[in-house]
């Protein structure tokens, strides 16, 4: 055996394979990160030369003008998702983490809810959009409007928010709960005053990422929000609402330069929006990690 291992040709072969392996892992990383950079730089490079700040304040007219009604629309949709899915998702996460767990075996409901949440997170957004279109937009005669759009986006990100809330609550140190109980707080009071407060960074991170998903979604919005060149008025039904992914999807293959510029402008604004949400959530995570280390656990 030792003879075989010291065989120089075999050692050389292993060394060679080792070098290939290292090269391949780095190549894989380059092939993953490279396209990300290519996409971002490509969009920025095509949008910036024709960028006009008036795009931010002018509504679309035909294939020209600006994108202001889509920007406002996307923000309104995100606000709606934050209110609807944020409230319900955080509540669902609290329930799954705090109230369903101790008696999980005794309650089939908790297990059922949890698996339903997981299955729902795997349902394609186009399926949800189709159902919303058939049942709400056409079936209930709501028309393309704000409410069905917010509902379908909320259902889409609800499992995500519930999951991130549940994870954040699970990471709250046991000592906090025990301390609260030792001080005589009722479970609900300690939940409100102690547990949720220390889980807030994780919850907020989940909310921000959910907003990023909702803001970048296209397919379900095409089937529920319609499109428009006027500003949202706050009307929930019967009035279409603009959103930033629409011009990208519609204008990219129009035979007019003006339309192409709008498509790339919208893409640029979307990227800035999503990047801002990602970076803010990153900063929150980094800050809370530093605090928890500084606080000594």
């Amino acid at each position: 055996m030792p003879r075989r291992h010291s065989d120089p040709s075999r050692t050389r072969g292993r060394r060679f394979r080792e070098r290939i392996f290292r090269g391949l892992t780095l190549l894989a990383l380059v092939l993953v990160v490279g396209p990300a950079a290519w996409i971002l730089i490509g969009v920025v490079a095509r949008a910036v030369p024709h960028w006009q700040w008036s795009v931010l304040v002018t509504p679309t007219s035909g294939v020209g003008g600006g994108l202001s009604q889509d920007i406002v629309g996307t923000l309104v949709l995100m606000l709606g998702v934050l209110v609807v899915a944020g409230t319900l998702g955080v509540l669902a996460g609290i329930y799954l983490s705090e109230m369903a767990k101790p008696r999980r075996n005794g309650r089939p409901g908790a297990v059922l809810f949890r698996s339903a949440t997981e299955v729902l997170s795997g349902v394609p957004s186009i399926t949800l959009g189709f159902v919303a279109y058939v049942a709400l937009v056409v079936g209930l005669h709501w028309g393309f409007s704000l409410l069905p759009a917010v509902l379908v986006l909320s259902v889409m990100v609800l499992p995500y928010i519930a999951k991130s809330t549940e994870t954040a609550l699970a990471q709250v140190p046991t000592g906090y709960r025990e301390g609260a109980e030792a001080l005589g707080m009722s479970p609900a009071y300690s939940l409100r005053k102690i547990v949720i407060r220390s889980a807030i960074p994780g919850v907020v991170t989940g909310l921000l990422l959910a907003l990023a998903i909702a803001g970048g979604e296209t397919a379900p919005l095409l089937l529920t929000a319609g499109n428009t060149s006027s500003y949202p008025t706050g009307q929930l039904l019967h009035q279409p609402i603009g959103y930033l992914t629409y011009p990208v999807w519609t204008f990219y293959n129009y035979p007019s330069d003006q339309a192409h510029y709008l498509a790339y402008d919208a893409a640029l604004i979307l990227i800035v929006l999503v990047m801002a949400l990602l970076i803010v959530s990153r900063v929150i995570v980094a800050r809370t990690q530093r605090h928890s280390e500084g606080g000594g656990g």
Partner: protein, 364 residues
């Protein structure tokens, strides 16, 4: 801080005076709220937690109800035929099994199902080795000052909206591949079984190969992030032991690290597969959005179920009998069944073998 719940005996901290007496109603309400706080959390939480189940049930019920006429008329032919013919929507109406539909309409989603499975298969085949390699480089090879920004770059890739990836795919990547990469492959492929599939014509960059590559990029972040977390969790001792026995890094990776977390990687891959199956907009932009065509070679244009739904729904509503919408509903039902099956398999694999690292299905 007037009251601290019922347990402490409802003792006000300060005696009531005029100011507090005026707000006695509000105090009663607040008091009631506090003493029933636990009940409030429970019922509100229960309602919220029940919502996903309700939404899921609603989705399935609506799909089945809407798809029922199509299931009756098209029967098994829906899964085996590849003709997607709306018929003459302005002409006569025919009746089959008591269901009204335009004369000459017949729907078969075989080409769409094949397209969905093909693009997703290409995506997974490309994404899996890339993700494992990238995760390995991030956790084992690079110093943390390099690994951290690169990991964030992978996260950014997950966050880019799919419509932007589609825009890049159809206007930048597709033409680039069709001009510089596909010809190089296609010109040198011999005319033998299997490899014939890679021969000319290469088209203009819209089609199966480009869609698969773009889908791979979209699921790489999901698999990479999970695999990276899993690699970090592998204990150092077995790896160090293997190194001490004389294994090289690649041997440690192949014989210790990857087997240690194999099931987690499989689960993440199937989750990525679920996302690839359901991806709509990017594929609708890049695939050529065909309805009846199975790609003749790997570069050919084709369509997927998701892309067909988003591109066909408007025209489907011109069918006065509602039969076209019903066919789309059946397609959506098939897609939902395929995707949910993939997800359930993934969850089962993950939960059976590892407690940690179960990611959520969507991107990011």
């Amino acid at each position: 801080m007037a009251l601290i719940g019922r347990d402490t005996g409802d003792v006000p901290v300060s005696p009531p005076d005029d100011a507090t007496r005026r707000t006695v109603v509000f105090r009663r309400v607040a008091d009631f709220g506090r003493s029933n706080e636990s009940g409030f959390w429970k019922s509100a939480g229960w309602l919220a937690a029940a919502l996903p189940l309700a939404a899921l049930t609603f989705t399935v019920v609506i799909l089945v109800v809407k798809a029922w006429p199509s299931i009756l008329v098209n029967g098994g032919g829906f899964l085996t035929g590849s003709a997607w013919k709306p018929g003459n929507t302005y002409g006569a109406t025919a009746h089959t099994h008591g269901v009204a539909h335009p004369l000459g309409s017949s729907y078969g989603a075989w080409a769409l199902i094949v397209g969905t499975l093909q693009t997703s298969a290409i995506a997974v085949v490309l994404a899996l080795p890339l993700s494992i390699g990238a995760a390995f480089a991030l956790t084992e090879r690079l110093p943390s000052w390099m690994a951290r920004p690169l990991a964030f770059a992978v996260e950014i890739l997950a966050g880019i909206p799919s419509v932007i990836i589609g825009l890049w795919g159809v206007l930048t990547l597709g033409p680039f591949l069709a001009q510089h990469v596909y010809p190089a492959i296609a010109d040198h492929m011999p005319d033998v079984p299997v490899l014939r599939y890679f021969r000319n014509p290469v088209g203009h960059g819209e089609g199966l190969a480009t869609s698969g590559i773009v889908l791979a990029l979209m699921i790489v972040p999901i698999i990479t992030a999970t695999t990276r977390d899993l690699f970090v969790q592998v204990p150092a001792l077995p790896k160090e032991g293997a190194t001490a026995l004389g294994m090289t890094d690649s041997e440690v990776a192949r014989r210790v690290t990857i087997p240690w977390v194999r099931s987690g990687i499989i689960g993440a891959t199937v989750l990525g597969l679920g996302r690839a199956l359901g991806e709509t907009i990017a594929v609708a932009m890049i695939s050529g959005a065909a309805l009846n065509t199975i790609a003749p070679n790997i570069y050919g244009t084709m369509g997927t179920i998701a892309a067909a739904i988003v591109t066909q729904l408007d025209s489907a509503y011109t069918d006065g009998t509602g039969f076209a919408v019903s066919a789309l509903a059946e397609a959506a039902l098939v897609l939902a069944v395929i995707t949910i099956a993939a997800n359930v398999i993934a969850r089962t694999i993950i939960t059976r073998t590892s407690r940690n690292g179960a990611p959520v299905g969507r991107a990011l």
